[in-house]
């Protein structure tokens, strides 16, 4: 499993290095609005500084060597180490994605178990219709709906941002509350967009489980409904659900890019989008690499959890 993980990382690193450089244009022109103002001396100096004057294969070699040392290089547009830029923005994305994955998983698990338990009831049909509807709405559209509804029309929540600025001196508790307050809408948008698929998968798995003989046996033993529902049926329906959580880690990161843009949330989007626009190769490499590693790690964790819950999947 680990060897496969390493090979995957190497492929990711190579693709992440190659793709931005295949884009037309050059970072020096891109980092400056009035390209005519770039004198030949400045261009030469900047190309040398960022190693852009060397053959691509050499650049790749020094990139790999840098990675081995834990050096992600220096951003051309920000003029700071890529690691420093990531340190400032990655925690926001982790907070948003982590919160949303956790919330959506919990909510869809409870909703899915209960909908399947009452299959055919009004609650079940209502849940299925609602979730199917949610599934059909793109995450950015959901974000805009939430902004218009709860930040503009009824201004209950802030329009955007991750926290009230200039409050570094405020007490920790009020800063934490403020963080949560700014997180509500983006996390709601991401959670809602992630919930639907998990709900539908879990409900389906749960329906299969409920027809199993061991459920009949468990029911015959006189176990409580709660115990039957969650410990026996719910747990056994978790397999496909957990797989989906792993897969959704990638989807969640992708969706977060759009949602962060709508809410002006200071996560990886605010780093990645300008980096692409300005062809900031080291920064693009760094962002994609970290995001890819995040997704790979999430999948690894899910695999490990899965094998613990269901030993048949181990190995």
């Amino acid at each position: 499993m680990v060897a496969g993980y390493v090979v995957t990382v190497w492929i990711v690193v190579t693709v992440v290095f190659g793709l931005p450089r295949a884009l037309p244009g050059d970072p020096i022109t891109a980092s400056i609005q009035d390209a005519s103002a770039v004198s030949p001396e400045l261009r030469t100096m900047m190309e040398r500084r960022y190693g852009l004057d060397r053959p691509l294969i050499e650049q790749y070699g020094s990139y790999l060597a840098g990675l081995a040392r834990g050096d992600l290089g220096e951003s051309i547009s920000l003029r700071t180490p890529v690691a420093t830029a990531l340190k400032a923005h990655l925690p926001w994305t982790l907070l948003l994605v982590g919160t949303s994955l956790a919330l959506s998983s919990l909510a869809s698990f409870i909703a899915g178990v209960n909908a399947a338990w009452r299959r055919g009831s009004f609650d079940d049909r209502f849940s299925v219709v609602t979730m199917t509807g949610l599934h059909a709405i793109p995450d950015y559209a959901l974000s805009i709906i939430l902004v218009i509804g709860l930040a503009v029309t009824v201004p209950l929540f802030p329009l955007g941002g991750g926290a009230e600025p200039f409050t570094d001196d405020a007490p920790l508790v009020s800063r934490a509350v403020d963080l949560g307050y700014h997180l509500v809408l983006p996390a709601a948008a991401l959670s809602l967009s992630l919930m639907a698929t998990k709900f539908l998968i879990l409900r389906s798995a749960m329906v299969s489980v409920l027809g199993s003989e061991y459920m009949v046996a468990a029911r015959a033993k006189g176990l409580s409904e709660r115990r039957l529902k969650y410990r026996h049926a719910g747990r056994n329906a978790l397999g496909p659900f957990l797989n989906l959580v792993g897969i959704q880690a990638g989807a969640a990161v992708g969706a977060a890019i759009f949602i962060e843009a709508v809410f002006d949330y200071p996560g990886m989007t605010s780093l990645l989008l300008p980096a692409i626009g300005q062809l900031d190769f080291p920064l693009i490499d760094g962002c994609f690499l970290v995001l890819a590693l995040l997704v790979l790690t999430a999948n690894l964790v899910v695999d490990l959890v899965q094998s613990r819950i269901d030993p048949r999947t181990a190995g």
């Binding site: 891109a30 390209a35 005519s36 003029r79 201004p155 329009l159 200039f166 300008p274």
Partner: protein, 673 residues
């Protein structure tokens, strides 16, 4: 319960009354402004010029105002014509609110504005775009500045003289200090310009001054006077004040001397200027958040003009500036000058007060004549000018908020705009006739035009960095590629395509993958027809030279005049346009002459002729120039103005630091000298 209800009701009443008060104050200001304007018109009717506030109260024509206005200032422009109130961009006086909304207040605690993300780091060498320069200018000062009159205005320099055409002598204000309490001296000024000249590390700056550097011979501090600095030119350029004196902020020698890589200097000392504000957030200035631009600036209480009127400026994240103003998240917000602001978005903020001013940026079609036929033929370019309906674009794309571009390339609001230029009003038949005369006709009756066999048309394709030119031969349809920026207006490009369809010219809109790719295509000239958006066409009319004939700046989006004709006077590319060489020669000669012509009226004649040549030869078609807009909170700070001719070293913008320093639209308040 009763107490709660009463509490809620009282809160509602308090807010309502406060709102009424705010509105009342705004009405009072506007009434006062109109009164002053009327008095100015009356004064002008009798005296042939506009008067000062003193003259309006105690002037030669009697008491036109009973007392000096405390809400409105006036600034008569010397020699300004009486053109009537309401058109002050061209008139001889400017009015403005004095200390808006709180005429007796001496300060405003805070202004909160939208952070701009795309502007680099606001040090003198690492800002990348105009908003970055404006932010940099909060902490650094040039020698002179501009207010709402658009005229050069003493800033770090107390005064200046021009003893001979090649010499400018500046005397600095005394007692000016850097943020680290070191005194500003003429040595700093001389160091600044010597540090940024070609071959020196500071040449990395993107300052607008570089455009006039070839004319700068030396800058020296007077050894006998620590406040006197002398600029020697090798050419008496008319743009010295705009490009050199306003174009570069002065940097401290004791910080930058010996710095070999100024662009990458990011520590706190890179922000030490003489400016009215000091960056206070982030606390660690080296951690300035380039990606969000969220930052705060507190007034420099030791500023040489006194403590700035606005005591603190905060730049916060705002995904949509207009909504943020409406919700009170920021105090004022200017939507992009592009056409991307929808009527719906503007309708949603219609209750907010706003300032609307003529713009300088334009969206423009450029022809790369060097690609050959038919782009190098004036009839082809004129045919396109006749088929593109620029007034229709203003209506459709800008919803009327702007003007059709001038065929002479300057902004429609430019004081040197040539009258009576060929307008190329939409005339489909004339466009068809011109194409017919070139042999670009429909030979196979499919409704679309083909190129003549003898002179096949060129089609430019390929990547931005490696263009491919092919020939379109009969009976193939001639389908020119129109290259655009991916962030450009699709509504505009679609409209252009439709106009061309109307005369039987099929065309293909080709947006590049990214804005940098588009920039690369333009700078490498891998296009034949390009639609780009750029420029401050309100600058000194020397912009005609710099944009259309300067060997350095015209590489972007201009393959015309000198590029086609050749820098050394020899045609570098074949052209089939009769008389092109003559016109190019005349344009280049005029461009060089007007740059140094000392007589204003003679210079203006040359500038008018240059516009005439541009309009006749159509190297570009300026499509439209959107107005500038800023919305601000009801009852909030309202002295906003778009600097005529552009904020120093950047396009017109409402975010001129003069307004934060003084709280006024022009001049310095009493106590600031």
């Amino acid at each position: 319960m009763v107490v709660v209800i009463l509490g809620v009701l009282s809160a509602v009443v308090v807010f309502a009354v406060r709102g009424a008060g705010d509105k009342g104050e705004l009405v009072a200001q506007n009434t006062d402004l109109q009164t002053v304007r009327t008095a100015e018109e009356a004064f002008c009717a009798q005296n042939g010029r506009y008067g000062t506030m003193d003259e309006l109260v105690n002037g030669p024509t009697g008491k036109l105002l009973s007392e000096k206005s405390t809400m409105t200032d006036v600034a008569p422009v010397p020699g300004g014509a009486c053109t009537g109130a309401g058109d002050e961009s061209k008139s001889g006086f400017i009015t403005g609110f004095a200390r808006p909304n709180n005429s007796n207040a001496t300060s405003l605690a805070k202004l909160r504005l939208a952070a701009s993300k795309d502007m680099g780091r606001p040090t003198p060498f690492a800002w990348t775009r105009p908003p970055g320069y404006l932010l940099n200018s909060l902490m650094f000062d040039p020698l002179v500045w501009r207010d709402a009159t658009g005229q050069p205005f003493p800033w770090l320099a107390q005064s200046w003289t021009n003893p001979d055409p090649l010499t400018w002598e500046f005397t600095l204000r005394s007692g000016v200090k850097w943020h680290d309490d070191q005194p500003l001296t003429a040595e700093d000024v001389a160091f600044t310009f010597n540090y940024i000249k070609p071959g020196q590390p500071g040449n990395a700056t993107l300052c607008f001054c570089k455009i006039s550097f070839p004319a700068l011979a030396s800058v020296t501090a007077d050894p006998a006077d620590p406040l006197r600095v002398v600029f020697k030119l090798n050419k008496a350029i008319n743009t010295f004040m705009q490009d050199i004196a306003q174009g570069m902020v002065i940097i401290p020698k004791h910080v930058w001397n010996g710095v070999a890589d100024p662009v990458n200097k990011t520590d706190a000392s890179a922000y030490i200027g003489t400016g009215p504000y000091k960056m206070t957030t982030p606390a660690d200035l080296s951690a300035y958040p380039v990606t969000t631009g969220v930052s705060a600036y507190d007034a420099n209480t030791s500023y040489f003009l006194g403590t700035p009127y606005v005591r603190r400026l905060e730049y916060v994240a705002a995904a949509d500036a207009l909504t943020a103003v409406k919700n009170g998240a920021i105090d004022a917000g200017a939507p992009s000058f592009d056409e991307s602001v929808s009527d719906t978005a503007l309708a949603s903020v219609s209750s907010l007060p706003k300032v609307q001013s003529p713009g300088g940026w334009n969206r423009v079609v450029h022809f790369n004549m060097a690609q050959g036929f038919p782009y190098n033929n004036v009839k082809f370019r004129q045919a396109l000018a006749y088929t593109i309906d620029r007034n229709d674009l203003v209506t459709r794309i800008l919803s009327g908020r702007g003007k059709a571009g001038s065929t002479g390339a300057l902004a429609p609001s430019h004081p040197s705009l040539a009258p009576g230029l060929p307008e190329y009003a939409r005339d489909v038949q004339k466009a068809k006739d011109l194409l017919d005369s070139l042999g670009i006709v429909d030979t196979n009756n499919d409704g679309k035009r083909e190129c003549p066999t003898a002179t096949p048309c060129k089609v430019v394709a390929g990547t931005p960095t490696a263009g491919v030119v092919t020939e379109s031969k009969t009976p193939d349809n001639f389908i020119p590629n129109i290259h655009t920026n991916p962030n450009g207006s699709t509504a505009t490009t679609d409209a252009i395509k439709t106009y061309l369809d109307d005369v039987g010219l099929l065309s293909a809109i080709v947006p590049d993958a990214t804005p940098p790719a588009s920039d690369a295509r333009m700078t490498r000239a891998n296009y034949a027809i390009g639609i780009v958006g750029w420029g401050n066409n309100q600058y000194d009319p020397d912009l005609l030279r710099s944009r259309l004939s300067d060997p350095w700046t015209s590489i972007l989006a201009n393959r015309s005049w000198r590029t086609v004709y050749g820098w050394n006077g020899t045609a570098s590319s074949p052209t089939t346009t009769p008389g092109f060489a003559t016109k190019a020669q005349e344009f280049i000669a005029l461009a060089d002459q007007q740059q140094v012509e000392p007589n204003k009226s003679v210079r203006k004649q040359k500038v008018l002729r240059m516009q005439q040549l541009v309009a006749e030869d159509v190297p570009q078609i300026s499509l439209y120039v959107p107005d500038l807009l800023i919305y601000y909170r009801q009852g909030g700070f309202s002295a906003w103005y778009a600097t005529p001719g552009g904020t120093p070293a950047s396009p017109p913008s409402y975010y001129n630091k003069h307004v934060y320093v003084t709280g006024k639209q022009f001049g310095l308040p009493a106590g600031m000298t």
